[in-house]
């Protein structure tokens, strides 16, 4: 039985990072550095988004020769639409997402 749970703050943070540059392919470690999420949080979210067709993944050959291909991710059109339809996060009342910087 599939459950439709509300999106967590962590998932929202990740989607926000991906939606900021929707056409750019992003690597797992880069997303960790950018969002402040731990690998144990990031990868399950990536997997769920991918399972729901909101994220696409592909192996990208690195620019540097001799290095192996890396998995890269970006939101699908459906994912981008889903993200844009999310209610906006209220930073005053909602918990601050992991690694997010609060602007003074």
């Amino acid at each position: 039985m599939k459950r439709n749970r509300p999106l967590s703050n962590e998932a929202r943070t990740l989607m926000q990072a991906l939606a900021d540059a929707p056409s750019r392919w992003r690597h797992g470690y880069d997303l960790i550095k950018e969002t402040g999420l731990k690998s144990g949080t990031l990868y399950p979210i990536l997997m769920r988004l991918s399972d729901r067709g909101l994220l696409e993944a592909q192996w990208l050959e690195p620019e540097q020769l001799g290095k192996p291909a890396r998995h890269a991710y970006r939101l699908t059109a459906k994912g981008l639409e889903f993200y844009r339809e999310l209610p906006t996060l209220n930073t005053e009342t909602d918990p601050i997402p992991y690694g997010a910087q609060v602007q003074a």
Binding site: M1, H27, G28, Y29, I32, K38, S39, G40, T41, L42, Y43, P44, L46, M47, A57, K67, P68, A69, R70, H71
Partner: protein, 196 residues
Amino acid sequence: MIGDMRHTTATMLLRHCQTLAPKGKAQWAEAMARERDEIADPGEALAFAVGCLVTISLERARTVDFLLGEVRWVVSAATGLLAMFALVAVLRMLPAYPQAAMVLGTIGLVFGWCSRLLANSKEWRVVTIAIVMFALSGLSIVAMNTSFPEPPHEALYRALALEGLLLWSAILGASLAIATGRLYKRQANKSLGGES
């Protein structure tokens, strides 16, 4: 030296992730292993690997089918028997030790509920059962710590509570070991194209 060890451990854990990953998530485990090459800091690499291992272990746990018929029936029958023993004990203890009888009665009811759940439910959630069993161990400890007015009976009931605790811990442990062992074997066979 320590840095090298952490890098080596991270690599080892990520290799284990690749072995552990269920078929549908194999490329994710591969992706994690490749990302590790990009992490220069040993501590960060190790933390990354631990997070990945947790993720893949949970994915593996989600794909394991704990509905192996024979294990389910054995545990169901065993918990049913324990429920019956507990209820018989309640009847015998009730006049003299109502408090202890209530504790045992609760244990009996939860065992009965477990037994019914295991026998009927198509979606047997082993974690739920494990939690119930764990909660019951708390009850047994309560029973062990209950003070009985007559010293000879106190020793007897403590021994019985301990025996019960050990008995169903063994049943649960053995069942889980059988279930996971058999299922891993079955899944490995499937992955290799053999018969399940």
